[in-house]
């Protein structure tokens, strides 16, 4: 079977997941729907990692993002509310900058996409055929060899953020 002929339709499917989920994530009025859109996007990106023959990263994406970050955000939605006392919705109060801000957001993102896309299409080097898959043992050797300093730094960053989150939670309880 020619695998190369499979790449385009599958890529299109994942791209549709990414774009559709992304638009839901940034446009939906209900934050829960936005989060579901984000999860669809995450699965699309994981599919693209699989398409690039990087299965370890693909499953880490599902494990870390969908398993941890998305659940964390569901808690954030559950525990907060808007000014009308409703939980899980965008604030509906329309102020006078509302329209112009939406317009400028479209401009900012659209213009940036156009400029960067032009640069990407014009200056991107030629792609080489997909390299053989890097095994997990190789990744681990790299992580504990040349990349050991970032590896340790990320554990420090995680520890600091966890400690900071706990500290913020404590202060909240004392104030009550």
């Amino acid at each position: 079977m020619n695998l190369n002929s499979m790449v385009h339709p599958v890529y299109g499917l994942y791209l549709m997941l990414i774009i559709g989920g992304g638009i839901t994530a940034v446009r939906a009025k209900s934050l829960v729907r936005a989060l579901v859109g984000l999860i669809v996007t995450l699965f699309g990106v994981a599919g693209m990692y699989l398409l690039l023959a990087a299965p370890f990263i693909a499953f880490m994406q599902i494990l870390i993002y969908v398993g941890a970050v998305a659940v964390l955000m569901f808690f954030a939605i559950m525990l907060t509310r808007t000014s009308d006392g409703e939980s899980g919705f965008e604030d509906k109060a329309v102020d006078k900058t509302y329209r112009s801000r939406g317009f400028m957001s479209i401009w900012a993102s659209g213009l940036m996409f156009a400029m960067l896309a032009m640069a990407v299409v014009r200056y991107m080097p030629r792609a080489i055929p997909l390299k053989p898959e890097t095994t997990m043992a190789q990744l681990g050797e790299f992580l504990t060899g040349p990349f050991v300093l970032p590896f340790e730094l990320i554990s420090v960053a995680l520890l600091v953020s966890m400690a900071g989150a706990v500290l913020l939670g404590f202060e909240r309880r004392k104030a009550k």
Binding site: A25, V45, T80, A108, V120, T134, L158, K176
Partner: protein, 102 residues
């Protein structure tokens, strides 16, 4: 079309969707969702670049793993901040958080 360009355009779409959401959303949770979109775009661009160019393969994959770790740390901290803001101001709308000395 060049495969590298295809993957980079997908990453770019994620980035600009994230920028749009970050600037147009009013609730802090919505802005956090947009930031996650942008971080995903960065990861996709890194993995695509390392898989489809002669660069070292592990560099991109481990770099993406580190981005995921940072995103998890950031989400944890932002969740705690959102909770404190919600307790103090009664809302998580970014427009109403305008006092420096709470």
């Amino acid at each position: 079309m060049n495969y590298l360009v295809m993957y980079h355009l997908a990453a770019l779409a994620l980035l600009s969707l994230g920028i749009y959401g970050l600037t147009s959303r009013k609730s802090l949770v919505g802005m956090l969702i947009s930031v996650e979109l942008m971080l995903n775009g960065a990861g996709l661009a890194l993995v695509a670049s390392s898989r489809l160019t002669p660069a070292i393969d592990q560099l991109g994959q481990i770099g993406t793993l580190l981005i995921m770790g940072l995103a998890a740390a950031e989400a944890t901290l932002v969740l705690a901040i959102i909770l404190v803001v919600s307790r103090r101001f009664g809302t998580t709308s970014s427009a109403s958080i305008a006092i420096l000395k709470g």
